[in-house]
């Protein structure tokens, strides 16, 4: 019988904190900008400069730590991580080594409807590096390389998980949940495309039942949730193939090649850096008072798990829907705003899960954008129009399509286009008479007990009224007249 393998994954997530100024100087953290315009002597690491810790960065890191159920350190310090690279102006990165700001946390993910807890080892603060622009493929082959130090000194938190993740899918779910939590907390934008959320993975496999971990590899360069899952799936297969062929997995760093869909060796353990960490003598240790931690805890907003429970408990949303909506802070905020304008949460959730998500995916516009055409109040109004019987569900879809275009309120669209549902018996009766006269065969069938025939006749009436007739009223009139 073939060996069954267990997958063991741990993730290192880097997230940029959205403070206005950098971690150790007053330069702006704004994304973009001409190269080397958001810089000063301090983040350029000029001779003689000194770093001064930005209190807001510490506050945000504590907030993230609390949101991830961590214990916040009362004594923490910054250390220097020494290595040479031209995007690092001091040739050391100010980071945290043995006394990180937060430790021993967790986050919960939902796998196949089951809740699973993933441990978080630590959260620490550090400064980002600059960006190299090669005139050529890579630094080795480039004619020359230019350095942009705008990102140098932008605050980051690194969040390290326990090796609790057991599948590439769980890894993706963990990262999605991490993004949601950091966004809810308001400490990061978590835009993977701008690099404000990055993820490295440690992965190994072992025969089921074996206690010791297998030899792990570290994966880098996964720039989307999908890439993370794909890279891990590839690496699982690769490692199992190596073992099945009687080989040994080599401890090394591998990079994900998105275009080819494979991982490639970057450097082996022997080539690994000795970072020569030591406490940064330019920065005094931080003593964090329990009062400050409490103050920050008070500012924590409702987090995704709490919100999901509220949706299920208070509004009776299906767990899956609640999970999807709360998975995105923007979408969830949108839903909450809509709820202020309608009492029918279930129907609103159906619209969000259906037509709204379809539109967002097709258009690529975010609900948080100021030019997103469908305001939460408008969608809620659409739900209310259906509930009051003013339009049918079918008409509502046409109205929704119209709302995407112009951003008008649904009531205004219904009014302007004359789409209001006809419930007046007199108006419908005339059409019913006409349909009965024109469809003798169906009338005959119905009278002979073929119940299905009534459906065809209702459809004919609806068609004649361009869908505006109230189908309930039509049905009722037909039955009366055909008695």
């Amino acid at each position: 019988m073939a060996t069954q393998y267990e997958i063991v994954i741990g993730l290192e997530v880097h997230s940029e904190l959205k403070t206005n100024s950098k971690i150790f100087c007053c330069s702006s953290t704004e994304f973009g900008g001409d190269p080397n315009t958001h810089i000063c002597p301090v983040c350029l690491g000029l001779p003689g400069v000194l770093p001064v810790a930005n209190k807001k960065v510490v506050e945000f890191a504590i907030k993230a730590g609390l949101a991830l159920n961590c214990r916040i350190a009362e004594f923490s310090k910054f250390d220097r991580k020494n290595y040479y690279y031209p995007d690092l102006p001091k040739n050391y990165q100010i980071s945290q080594y043995d006394l990180p700001i937060a430790e021993h946390g967790y986050l919960d993910i939902t796998v196949d409807g089951q809740q699973k807890r993933i441990g978080i080892t630590r959260v620490h603060m550090e400064e980002d590096a600059g960006k190299l622009n090669h005139e050529g493929e890579s630094m080795a082959t480039a004619r020359y390389s230019l350095v942009d130090y705008n990102r140098t000194g932008v605050p980051l938190i690194e969040i390290v998980s326990e090796p609790d993740i057991r599948s590439p899918e769980e890894a993706r779910l963990y990262l999605e949940k991490m993004k949601a939590i950091l966004q809810y907390t308001g400490v990061s934008d978590c835009k993977m495309e701008e690099g404000s959320l990055r993820c490295d993975a440690n992965i190994s496999v072992r025969p089921v039942g074996q206690k010791e971990f297998g030899t792990r590899t570290e994966l880098k360069n996964m720039n989307s949730f999908r890439a993370l899952q794909k890279a891990l799936e590839y690496e699982v297969e690769r490692q199992i193939d190596v073992l099945e062929d009687g080989g040994r997995v080599i401890q090394e760093t591998r990079t994900w090649d998105e275009a080819r869909g494979i991982t490639l060796s970057m450097r082996s353990k022997e080539e690994a850096h000795d970072y020569r960490y030591f406490p940064d003598p330019d920065l005094v240790p931080m003593i964090i008072s329990p009062q400050w931690i409490e103050e920050i805890r008070q500012t924590l907003p409702e987090l995704p798990d709490a919100r999901r429970e509220r949706y299920i408990r208070d509004y009776g949303l299906p767990p899956y829907d609640a999970e999807v909506i709360t998975g995105s802070k923007e979408l969830s905020d949108y839903f909450d705003e809509g709820l202020k304008h309608t009492g029918n949460a279930k129907a609103l959730s159906n619209w969000v899960m259906g037509e709204l998500l379809k539109f967002i995916n097709a258009s690529g516009i975010s609900v948080a954008d100021s030019d997103f055409p469908i305001r939460p109040a408008s969608l809620a109004e659409l739900v209310n129009l259906i509930d009051r019987g003013e339009i049918s569900g079918k008409i509502a879809k046409d109205v929704f399509a119209e709302m995407q275009q112009k951003g008008d309120s649904p009531a205004a669209i219904v009014e302007a286009k004359g789409l209001k549902q006809i419930s007046d018996q007199g108006a419908i009766a005339a059409v019913v008479d006409e349909v009965i006269a024109n469809n003798p065969q169906s009338v005959e069938d119905f009278k002979n007990g073929k119940e299905k025939a009534i459906g065809f006749l209702v459809g004919q009436v609806m068609k004649a009224t361009k869908g505006q007739a109230n189908p309930g009223v039509v049905n009722q009139l037909l039955r009366e007249k055909l008695k």
Binding site: G48, L50, V52, A53, N82, Y92, R276, Y277, F278, P281
Partner: protein
């Protein structure tokens, strides 16, 4: 007497009385530089035009009848490891031979606010690593008392310029004795302040947890005035302390009756020049005559100071000096075809032997597998050394010792033997490790060479050091003697 030979407080009085002008003082100083600089070689850079411009502005202010501060219109030299906006700042290294900083150090800003006249930048041992200024990559500075001898280091240029009357006062930096040892060798007053008393912002780092900026002056009063001007909290330096800066000249009472002075026995052992020892004992007798109470005490971990220093300082230096790689500023080897070769050649050629030696020592001490045995152990012993001082300074107001075991030594005498060179700082290093203030002032001569007396005090106890030093100075004339150049 020439104006350039006077002290800042004497010149200030003359400026206020309009007996002289700031321009005349500045001109006198440059005239002296023209006469003796060839022999002394204190300066890496001279800033004549800017100096005269500043002096003229001060004269205009005096002309308008406005009040001037104690350092206004008075020439100063700054060690060339402190950043001066728009003025070459080299650390006496090939690595920074062309570096013009876009900003000024906080101390430079403070002096500018005080109306000081910057006349130039002083030579030093490359990146402040050395005890003789022989490690300057440009040229060696000479001791004004005997030009065959070294001025000490690393702030040799700053000390020699004051002793040679090429300036009125100067600033240096002290990591293990780099102000006090050259002040002692050149016969001037020098202060290594409490760690955190003076902002390090803009001081090109050697060892961040030990470096402090401090003054060289012709007498204790000037030293106190300069320190009053440069001390204080700086939001740009997290390690600078928040404390009330007094007018330190208020401590210059001349009265040391009842002052408790401790004599650490570990500073009077074998290896110290007998002539130096005798002068220190004379000084102790003088203090007793003046009513101070002198008693022997002990700093038991003294013997570990040198090894601890030579782990901590190089470790920090190895990281602080990593930024000099040829990418952004300073020297770059242009022949390299790839980045790693550029890094290696730039650093091999840009740094001198002593700097490279310390970078290698420090890199080794921080390496995986050695960190606990060296760096971590050194930090623990450093704490013990600090506790020695805490205990001794509970009982005593001031501790007294020689500043250096010998007077100035000859060129090349120790250049080939780093250990002999390091021992020159054996009495000054502990003060940096403990973070306490240390002051040196002239206490006599051995074979015509000046000898310094070191006074050590409690953290932020500079006032007490000034008080003791001033009383001694008032009752001796060593500070009034001038070298024949």
């Amino acid at each position: 007497m020439q104006f350039n030979a006077l002290t800042a407080h004497e010149l200030h009085d003359k400026l206020v009385k309009k007996e002289i002008s700031a321009v005349e003082i500045t001109e006198a100083v440059f005239k002296r530089i023209d006469a003796v600089e060839e022999k002394v070689r204190s300066f890496v850079t001279q800033t004549r035009d800017k100096a005269l411009e500043t002096a003229r502005a001060v004269d205009a202010k005096i002309g308008r009848g406005e009040e001037i501060g104690p350092l206004e219109g008075i020439p100063v030299v700054i060690k060339d490891n402190m950043c001066t906006e728009g003025i070459l700042t080299t650390c006496s290294s090939k690595m920074l031979h062309n570096f013009v900083p876009p900003y000024s150090a906080t101390v430079v800003e403070k002096l500018k606010q005080a109306g000081a006249v910057l006349i130039g930048k002083a030579n030093l041992d490359e990146f402040a690593m050395g005890s003789s200024t022989e490690n300057s990559r440009f040229f060696a500075t000479r001791n004004p008392w005997d030009t065959e001898r070294v001025p000490g280091g690393s702030s040799g240029g700053s000390a020699a310029a004051v002793a040679a009357d090429e300036t009125i006062y100067s600033l240096g930096s002290d990591t293990g004795g780099s102000i006090r040892q050259p002040a002692s060798f050149c016969g001037v007053v020098g202060l290594k302040p409490t760690y955190g008393a003076v902002s390090r912002y803009g001081l090109i780092a050697f060892a961040s947890s030990l470096d402090q900026i401090g003054p060289f002056a012709k007498d204790v009063r000037d030293c106190a005035r300069v320190f009053s001007t440069i001390a204080g909290h700086d939001p740009k330096d997290s390690t600078s302390a928040e404390f009330e800066v007094p007018d330190y000249t208020s401590f210059l009472t001349g009265d040391v009756k009842g002052l408790r002075i401790g004599i650490p026995r570990e500073y009077f052992v074998e290896g110290t020049d007998p002539g130096v020892k005798e002068l220190i004992y004379n000084a102790i007798n003088k203090f007793e005559e003046l009513g101070a109470v002198c008693e022997e005490t002990s700093l038991p971990h003294t013997e570990y100071a040198l090894p601890v220093y030579y782990i901590i300082a190089p470790a920090e230096a190895s990281s602080n000096l990593a930024r000099y790689d040829g990418v952004r500023y300073g020297y770059r080897d242009e022949s390299a075809e790839d980045i790693v070769t550029m890094f290696m050649r730039t650093r091999s050629e840009g740094f001198g032997t002593e700097v490279k030696r310390r970078i290698m020592l420090g890199t080794y001490a921080l390496s995986s597998g050695y960190y606990d045995a060296y760096y971590l152990k050194a930090l623990k012993v450093r704490t013990l050394i600090k506790q020695d001082f805490d205990r001794a300074l509970e009982k005593f107001d001031v501790l007294i010792s020689p500043t250096s075991p010998t007077p100035a030594f000859k060129y090349g005498e120790k250049a080939g033997d780093p250990m002999q060179m390091y021992l020159s700082d054996v009495f000054t290093i502990s003060v940096n490790l403990a973070g306490i203030p240390g002051l040196t002032l002239p206490c006599g001569f051995v074979d015509g060479l000046p000898v310094g007396l070191q006074l050590m005090g409690r953290p932020f106890g500079e006032g007490t050091l000034f008080k003791a030093a001033y009383a001694f100075e008032q009752n001796t004339d060593f500070h009034l003697r001038k070298p024949n150049l």
